[in-house]
Subunit: 461 residues, 2 copies
């Protein structure tokens, strides 16, 4: 059976069928005017901020978007697509403009993280893929930012590949976590692709295939001087004592950099292990912890003053276990110069092209204002043009290191209380400009009037 | 920046660094004996059963596993790998045996879903990828099975790609959900790759770009006779009345198959929409629902007797939102003919090669027994040899349709009370054979004695 790998050749089909059926309808109806779509998150759901991420993956997709002959051949086997439309699809490219809040920037509900301005079919087709990438990467970056904050400057590395939701999650989680500040990953391919340091220790199986734990420890340390030993295979503190004994016996031939705790009451074990190491002359050996860690577990261990120097964080970060998705949407805001929206008390959207301005006081963010895009405002505009006519601008070619630096700098500007792991009762203020509120209100009235019109066949005729 | 696509050429690097550092150590220490590793789930965590899934992806990976020159070149840039080891890696292939419980089979905690019997380095390296695929696909199939049960025979289709965790999740979720019984997917690429029917309706944007909702409805229905109209863009019931009016006006030129509800109190709206449709002569038009659906929301709507004919299920299925990961592990059970295990009250594993026997009464499953692999037992053995010497056996070449049929048949054998969406207080009995318990107990004693030995340098020397 096919492995189902996604790549630049088949990514155009990685979309919802309705995008293609709508495209054929647009094509047939001549609906090729300029559309504006916003990608935003409706609610933060117990997060105090999000970290925008995923833009680079989106821009790569847009640059390479095309329907291969194989894709067209497949579509021709479906009953609903007409040859003339498929012929048109064969020349389909993304040639629109994209405005985005840079990766690594704190963002909030209702703020367009991405705004696409393109002929309607182009802006429509990309919805599914764009949401898929931005939703997960922003979710991961936001979670990782919390984990890193909880670690209070200690090293955080990613160990999550084995339980992440598939291979692409395995790759993109590393990228997004790195933007947010993790230092390394166990994922070798992600380390290669994104230029990060790969990192790792040893597994229980390595210890178990040796008849004696000390044999495993000494063989591994000899091959990898400065390595980290996993100490919880049989009895954690006994293994720490063994480490000390091996050091006494082998001296410089047994150079260990750290021990790794992976189960039990790790705060308590860290305290006891620290004493054993220090009394054994291994003050320089660090203690790292892994196993079901997230920001809450880390905060709890550090509140207990656990002498832990670093954390390997896996499943709960990599699946964003407490919030495995964001309430992200991609909504039409304007078509042919006219504002558009869905009418709904809970699921509406802000109409028209927009800008987001951020205001600072003494180097700290104090409020954002969402405005119409051409409305004069003070403050720092957040949406930047990252793609023009289907090509990346300078602002669209930010490196991963630059995005990471931007995240670090931006987080220093975040009000302290938003860094709390608990949901704040003083959410960051995001205002809507007077003019945008007026547009919204006028459009709501207009749409409500139209929706409530008595419906009978003669109205339609 | 690189898109980070995974494929057969680079999948060997999609592993944790420690697998490779352990491999080099095994290579150097001559640890090349036969190892047995089990993949199992420690706890079901409020699921009453799981549906095994992901095996086909694993077997494809194992068949194609190799280190490309590009991969070797990358590894040679890392400080810890020696040329002799990389030379050995260049010839690395998976040539072991794999035993598995077939995809689509209900499985429970502690039962090996997969058992790998191979030279230690081969069995070790694959851990990360194998867990990545089986964990997610089994999680999805298990969740989808609940959703389908809740739908009581109504159509369930997948709409989840946009918020799934990356592109591979988008693909594999479709495959796993299809094994569990969904009927179609909105994901065009997955439909192509796995041979499923793609399905879809229209988005709010399609309605919004038309100045009148009726124009959108009539244009779409003309192009796609029998289509599904999305009715909640402005006012759901008004849109349903409009549908009736268009039918009266246009007759056969307006052939609608269904309407889709996507927001609001959908059970209530379905009742009201049904009345409007029926009174308008559209008794044949079906009602489908989508929007934040999972097994609980579906069960609640059907408990209110909502006249809904089908469900489009997205985010909450695709991210397994209530349980985004399984407590899956891949543990060494035997090396060089000797049973192995980790010593831990909460994280131990059953040692040695094993088999799982399932017992039936009157066509229903009544209990499973985990035994040593060569222990005689009644019952039906679940672990089948799916790969021998690195090549798939007949049992390893099951088609997707066969796996789906097997899931359907197997679920009919499940005790009814396990189908409850709530956690049962009568979990399915999984016993451990007397002989296996004796092995476990003997090994625990042996390892505890060894772990508690007084540690001092002279012990080691």
């Amino acid at each position: 059976m096919s492995p189902g790998w996604v790549n630049d050749e088949n990514a155009a089909l990685l979309t919802d069928l309705y995008q293609l059926t709508m495209l054929q309808a647009y094509h047939r109806e001549g609906l090729n005017g300029i559309a504006v779509f916003d990608l935003f998150v409706r609610r933060l759901r117990e997060r105090n901020y999000l970290i925008a991420c995923g833009l680079d993956s989106v821009l790569h997709y847009l640059e390479h978007l095309h329907f291969s002959q194989e894709a067209l051949d497949y579509l021709s086997t479906l009953p609903m697509f007409k040859p003339e439309f498929l012929d048109w699809l064969s020349g389909f490219r993304f040639e629109g403009d994209v405005y985005a809040i840079p990766e690594g920037t704190p963002v909030f509900a209702d703020e367009p993280i991405l705004q696409v301005v393109a002929p309607l079919p182009q802006a429509q087709l990309i919805e599914t893929f764009v949401l898929n990438q931005i939703t997960y990467q922003t979710g991961i970056a936001s979670k990782a930012s919390r984990v890193i904050h909880a670690a209070q400057g200690r090293t955080v590395v990613d160990f999550g590949l084995r339980r992440m939701q598939g291979t692409d999650a395995g790759m993109k989680a590393v990228r997004a976590s790195y933007v947010a500040g993790i230092e390394a990953t166990s994922n070798v391919l992600a380390a290669k692709v994104y230029g990060l340091p790969p990192t790792g220790t040893m597994a229980h199986s390595y210890v178990e295939v040796h008849d004696l734990e000390e044999d495993a420890f000494s063989a591994f340390a000899e091959l990898y001087p400065g390595t980290t030993l996993l100490v919880d295979t049989y009895d954690t503190l006994q293994a720490v004592r063994r480490t000390v004994a091996l050091h006494k016996l082998l001296g410089d031939r047994f150079h260990v950099g750290a021990i790794r705790l992976d189960s039990g009451d790790m705060a308590e074990l860290a305290h006891e292990a620290r004493i054993i190491l220090d009394e054994g002359g291994l003050e320089h050996v660090k203690i790292v912890a892994s196993g079901s860690l997230d920001e809450f577990a880390i905060a709890e261990m550090l509140a207990r003053k656990a002498p832990i120097d670093g954390f390997g964080v896996g499943t709960k970060l990599g699946t964003v276990a407490d919030r495995p998705y964001l309430d992200s949407v991609y909504k039409l805001a304007e078509y042919n110069g006219k504002a558009r929206m869905k009418l709904s008390k809970r699921k509406s959207n802000l109409p028209g092209r927009k800008q987001v301005y951020r205001f600072f006081e003494q180097g700290r963010m104090v409020r954002d204002v969402i405005t119409a895009y051409d409305e004069p405002s003070d403050g720092t505009p957040l949406l930047q043009c990252v793609m023009k006519g289907g090509r990346r601008t300078a602002a669209g070619t930010v490196t991963l290191e630059q995005a990471r630096a931007h995240a670090r700098d931006s987080l220093r500007q975040l009000p302290d209380h938003l860094l709390s792991l608990e949901e704040t009762d003083r959410p960051y203020p995001v205002e809507v400009s007077h003019r945008l509120r007026e547009t919204l209100s006028r459009l709501e009235d207009e749409l409500e009037a139209k929706a409530s019109q008595i419906v009978n066949p003669s109205d339609i005729a």
